[in-house]
Symmetry: C2
Subunit: 258 residues, 2 copies
DNA sequence: CGCCAGGTTGAAAATTGTCAACACGTGTGG
DNA sequence: CCACACGTGTTGACAATTTTCAACCTGGCG
């Protein structure tokens, strides 16, 4: 088994924790710890909040509703920080759990403060991670709020592909994916049943093949068209100089187009 | 008209920018500027990103979809920072606009960096604002993802009430609200028409009366029951000694309870 | 006055959820 | 070894929610 390939790659491409140097990692984070699949990650053990750096495996953050349903807020892949946002919110019922067996390093609230204060760079790195997180969450919000089920699923998978690519965990035409249909459904605000139908449809049209363990994307281009996918919201690892759109000086959209 | 009452109150209760001292505000933020109702706030003028501190009035952030629809990401009320999250994301098509006439102070990306680096406290304040923002966005996500239209509307209004209360802009049984139905609909992922019907229903049941200019909440308690509202995700202004809720020590709901 | 955005309502259509059932693979205990 | 439970994936039929289309009313404003 490769022990930390994924994370090393991540360190180079630099999205979340990548901006933290090795020393910071060793000094402020707990030692790597193996967590079984399908187990809770404690973000708040009554004593204090904590976050996790995910080195290997998949995890997710979620919220429970009174009726027993849950909404998955986001999936974490190697290199992601889990729960940094909630770290500084006193009361927050955010929860997290692993999907697969995983390797994590813990970051307590106290350590976070120390790390944050230790240098401007460290502070910026943490801020950057939080900012990145928010960007993903916002796009997720748009996904759920204003897209049809088919668009949602497509968009979601393209986004996942993009993120995985950045850490070297995807091929050009797909990626290994341990998510079950119920998990994806809870993330996208759909029933597992309805998701299943949407997946069948996409499979039939040969746009996206989701089978247990892997996702195959025969034609990303066509899929992106279908759902209006635009990867811009994900930070490019470095800089590319921005192409700007900027129409619509007016408040609302649509009307008075001509 | 009171000129800065709202913001002063906010400064005391302290949610977003409140953690910044007066001097930081003067040194790093632009001078107060009046913006007309229904006008764009430029988060990115090709030259660089910028954020805004909202002193008076209402505004919102949103994203445009290819089909011309939009998803409102969140509403900003006096004291809120607009666009801090996007400040550090190179390509991000987040946009913002005012609802009412508003007073803002600009914060350029450069000033942000300077301010952030100026002291640990300032850095923490900005991080806190971002963290708070993310919390609100996450709750918004849950709202849209796993609640019925009626629940969404109720939950949204209770949340708004809570936020406004913290800055002294709400009464116990309601608040002044300049939002139009189309705006609320775009925030909640509903059609304006369907929202209208939901509002009628809530009005009939005397749970929530939304009329242009104001929202009346005759029975917050009953409304909260209806939608499973729990204000915990909003940071208590200062510290109240946490009445932490913390049930659910267990993993996911149901399985392996023992 | 006429325009326009917002609010309101009805009726029909589309999307999505619920209920019920069955197939499959895995792991456990008899 | 087999029976059985369990989570996942799958499908059909039906019900509920939400959208679409099409009006009409209202008040502000040039």
């Amino acid at each position: 088994m490769p022990s930390s390939t994924a994370f090393d790659t991540k360190t180079e491409s630099g999205v979340s924790a990548a901006l933290l140097d090795h020393e910071s990692l060793c000094r402020h984070f707990g030692r790597p710890r193996v967590i079984e699949a399908r187990t809770e990650l404690d973000l708040d053990d009554g004593d204090g909040k904590r976050a996790y750096l995910l080195l290997e495996g998949w995890a997710y953050t979620y919220k429970l509703l009174v009726d027993g349903n849950r909404q998955i807020v986001g999936f974490a892949i190697p290199g992601d920080l889990i729960g940094i946002g909630a770290l500084r919110r006193r009361t927050d019922d955010l929860m997290a759990a692993t999907v697969t067996k995983a390797v994590v390093r813990e970051l307590t609230a106290a350590s976070f403060d120390v790390l944050f204060s230790s240098s401007v760079e460290a502070g910026m790195a943490l801020l950057g991670a939080l900012s990145h997180d928010e960007g993903v969450t916002v796009e997720h919000l748009v996904d759920i709020g204003r897209r049809t089920a088919t668009e949602r699923v497509s968009h979601f998978m393209l986004e996942l592909h993009e993120r995985l690519s950045r850490v070297g965990l995807a091929e050009a035409d797909g990626f290994r994916c341990p998510l079950s249909q119920p998990l994806v459904a809870d993330a996208l605000g759909l029933t597992a049943i309805h998701l299943n139908r949407v997946l069948r449809d996409l499979r039939t049209r040969n746009l996206l093949v989701f089978r247990t363990g892997a996702v195959h994307l025969p034609d990303r281009r066509r899929l992106a068209d279908l759902c209006g996918y635009d990867p811009a919201y994900l930070d490019p690892p470095d800089d590319t100089g921005g192409v700007r759109t900027k129409r619509l000086t007016d408040a609302s959209r649509g009307r008075e187009a001509g």
